[in-house]
Amino acid sequence: MLSYDLAVIGGGPAGMAAALKAREEGIEKIIILERADTLGGILEQCIHTGFGLHYFGEELSGPEYAGRFIKQVYDTDIEVKTDTMVLDISKDNVVTACNNVDGLITIKATAIVLAMGCRERPRGALSIAGSRASGIMTAGTAQKYVNINGYMPGKTVVILGSGDIGLIMARRMTLEGAKVKAVCELMPYSGGLTRNIVQCLEDFGIPLRLSCTVVKTHGKERLEGVTVANVDENLKPIPGTEEYIPCDTLMLSVGLIPENELSKNAGIELDRITNGPSVDEYRETLHKGVFACGNVLQVHDLVDYVTQESQIAGEGAAKYIKGEKKTGEYVKTQGENGVRYIVPQRINRETDKDVKLYFRVGKVFKNVRLSVKCGDEVIMSRNKKKMTPGEMENILIKLDTIKSLPSGSTITVTVEEA
């Protein structure tokens, strides 16, 4: 069995940032285990720009953003195993993995960072009626065919779901000469970033149809068309609004699910809303010494925030390894009135820094007041012009405030009328 201070599972932006931060904090024996054949994660297929505006203050493509971290990792002696799949994490932090060079390996790690990312919701989860023709795929799979393999996955396209990958692919397919006939979104608002709606749809004249869904797929072998219909306020298709759109490809961008199969098998408690582990302010899960960051913890829309979050996890793991991480009383966090969840789910009262709470809202809010409360007491509040489910929000809680919270209390983030 191999022995490391820190094993990082996943070599995407989250895993790399966590490993680098832990190294910066003085941790020596670190290994990154990555299932793909290179570091970089999903960024490798995100060849569009828009990455790094917050973190680097410049606009980079996905591979460029990843590349900066890959270089840093290889400039250190952090060990990297690519093409390596982690099969199991045991309750006593033993990681079992395999690849075609080392065979089966087991690694005993003092701390583990989970950075496995997320996957796309597939068609089956949607129960769209109709045929099982080819040409129905998630937007991410299509993106891989175009950007990595160099093949066109379709010529006439309808996209269901207006998540960011769907919006990006609408533009990408158009640039490659395909005709994107519509982007249909079940909800009355888009699930993607506003900038992507403008730059990927509006700039190319691609219609975004809100409160609209695909009710049927047609075609025996390759897809030949889809029937779309408008939906009512209960999201049920309205009879009589059906419209047939001929197309050879249906791309799905209907949500991302953190990849927590390993976490579940290890008995790590997950948050019902985020589908990621429940963590403290240093992103430590309820399983001692196991940390989580990036899309495996909560689905992000900006990689810059992934990096920041992962640095927090890396720092936390380093503190844990050095025996410096505080164990004490926690206060809980919760969302209310349209605030769907809060990460972190708990904060140590004896923590040593300000803590940013990250969250998403469940619907579009305009001109509201965002308040943080402890019991009836308003700790802080600020006005918000607009909040949408597609954009992750955050609010900073000062260290002094945290220290002043009564033991056993809960902080609530809530939306109120301005």
Partner: protein, 476 residues
């Protein structure tokens, strides 16, 4: 090409017939219109090995069901196909239905079904805690089980091909003529000559029979829709849970699969179009509402896919198996609806006996009746995995992360006798792409591997043959 026997249709019936006949010194062709075996009713059904109490005594259905269910465990052992003797329950929700399960019990006894019991509500709840509290009693059939229908078919085809049967894909029979005691099959890939023809063409067996002037087979295409739930819901049911049957069939069931998922369905609707496997909102809604009645805690959030299959319902309500009235060298196996899968091993032996009477062939000395167990990395312990990867590093590369399927297993599936030629073929043989992400991550890798192994360009690889292409030309 000239053959002694041409078997038309590579479903579970055709493949098992080929497997049985391949022990003799006869030249056999398995003629299949699709790109793989198990592409019709075989791949989309309830995957159940029925006890055998449904069919009326004296029918072929009754006889071959009970016999097939008896043979199934040892056959699956020989072929290394997953089979589980999980038993089945028919739930009764009213006094009337309690009477009905007694009728089924008596019928089962007449049909020769072993180990039937009528059990109380308490016993039902003890066996299946998730069954509705509304249940009054149930018929327990201990001999019933579950099997993977396409894996059974694939394994049978592998054994058949290993023993010399020629598997001809993408070969649709268009017309049949006869000259001097030899049938000539005009197909989409050329002419095939055969002395004997076995018609196992599923929903199209009426058309195949009509090609020799036999218009006696009347079939109705009956569609059934299903939901498949994620493995995390696998503990919802242990037995196969039926409701009382009706005139359209055995009703909606809730059953575990041999792979640990939960399957619910089927609906039953008669269709004009034989190959219409489209799912419908109504059909899926129906399945769900009926399944709730048996197991109220079913959660549709667990659905990872839905699908439909079309079964060939014979208007006579019984299997049609035997020599055609028009020819003593043409055997029909038609109208093989439920319990067709359960009966298939017995159907194959029955057809074997019909043919052997006429052909009296020698048995091959080197007949290999068993299939070696395919490598299943996911079922291995650490030590076995370690040794496996040491022997062949391709087993150390995980391609499908949801189901933990290795590159080595995919290579095996492609290079097996009657091996996979498309993405769905790899999926049925290995489970790559069958997990919760439904191929989101691995399908492009599977396309790459298929292209490399088959010496093709990636854009020539299909989902399931024909025009089911996955990608088009190169990007600009």
């Amino acid at each position: 090409m000239k053959y002694d026997v041409a078997v038309i249709g590579g479903g579970v019936v055709g493949a098992l017939i080929c497997k049985e006949l391949s022990k003799y010194d006869v030249k056999i062709a398995l003629v299949e219109k699709c790109n793989d075996v198990a592409m019709g009713t075989t791949k989309a059904n309830s995957a159940i090995v029925h006890g055998g109490f449904d069919a009326m005594p004296g029918t072929l259905k009754a006889k071959l069901n009970v016999e097939g269910t008896r043979i199934m465990p040892s056959l699956c052992g020989d072929l290394n196909v997953p089979y589980r003797n999980n038993g089945s329950l028919v739930l009764a929700f009213s006094d009337e239905e309690v009477e009905h399960i007694k009728v089924l019990y008596d019928r089962g006894v007449k049909n020769g079904v072993p180990d039937l019991e009528i059990i109380s509500k308490e016993k039902v709840k003890e066996l299946e805690p998730n069954v509705s509290d509304e249940v009054k009693a149930a018929l327990l059939s201990n001999s019933a089980g579950i099997v993977c229908p396409y894996e059974l078919t694939i394994a049978a085809a592998e054994v058949a091909v290993t023993n010399g049967v020629e598997f001809i894909r993408n070969c649709e029979v268009k017309a049949i003529s006869e000259q001097g005691g030899v049938y000539e099959l005009e197909t989409s890939t050329g002419k095939i000559e055969a002395r004997y023809v076995i018609n196992a063409a599923g929903n199209h067996s009426d058309e195949i029979a009509a090609m020799i002037g036999d218009d006696s087979i009347e079939l109705v295409a009956r569609k059934g829709e299903y939901y498949l739930l994620d493995k995390s819901y696998g503990s919802l049911a242990n037995h196969t849970i039926f409701q009382c049957p009706n005139k359209m069939g055995k009703g909606v069931l809730v059953t575990p699969t041999v792979d640990g998922n939960i399957l619910i369905g089927p609906s039953a609707s008669d269709e004009n179009e034989k190959d219409n496997t489209d799912t419908t909102p109504e059909g899926l809604e129906f399945v769900l509402s009926k399944a709730f009645k048996s197991v109220p805690s079913i959660n549709i959030r667990g659905a990872i896919t839905s699908f439909a299959g079309v079964r060939a319902h014979p208007v006579t309500d019984d299997f049609i198996i035997g020599y055609s009235d028009k020819s003593d060298r043409f055997i029909n196996c038609a109208g093989i609806e439920s319990p067709g899968l359960s009966a298939a091993p017995a159907i194959a032996r029955y057809v074997e006996s019909l043919l052997i009477e006429k052909l009296s062939p020698e048995i091959k000395k080197d007949y290999a009746a068993t299939r070696k167990a395919p490598v299943r990395f996911r079922h291995m312990n650490e030590q076995q995995r370690r040794e496996l990867i040491k022997k062949n590093p391709a087993y150390g590369r995980i391609i499908c992360r949801c189901e933990t399927i290795t590159e080595g297993e995919i290579l095996d599936a492609i290079h097996a006798p009657a091996g996979a030629r498309d993405v769905d073929g790899v999926k049925r043989r290995t489970r790559a792409g069958m997990g919760r992400c439904q191929g989101g991550f691995c399908s492009s890798k599977v396309v790459e591997i298929l292209a490399k192994e088959l010496g093709k360009d990636m854009n020539e690889i299909t989902k399931f043959g024909g025009n089911s292409k996955i990608i088009f030309e190169r990007t600009k």
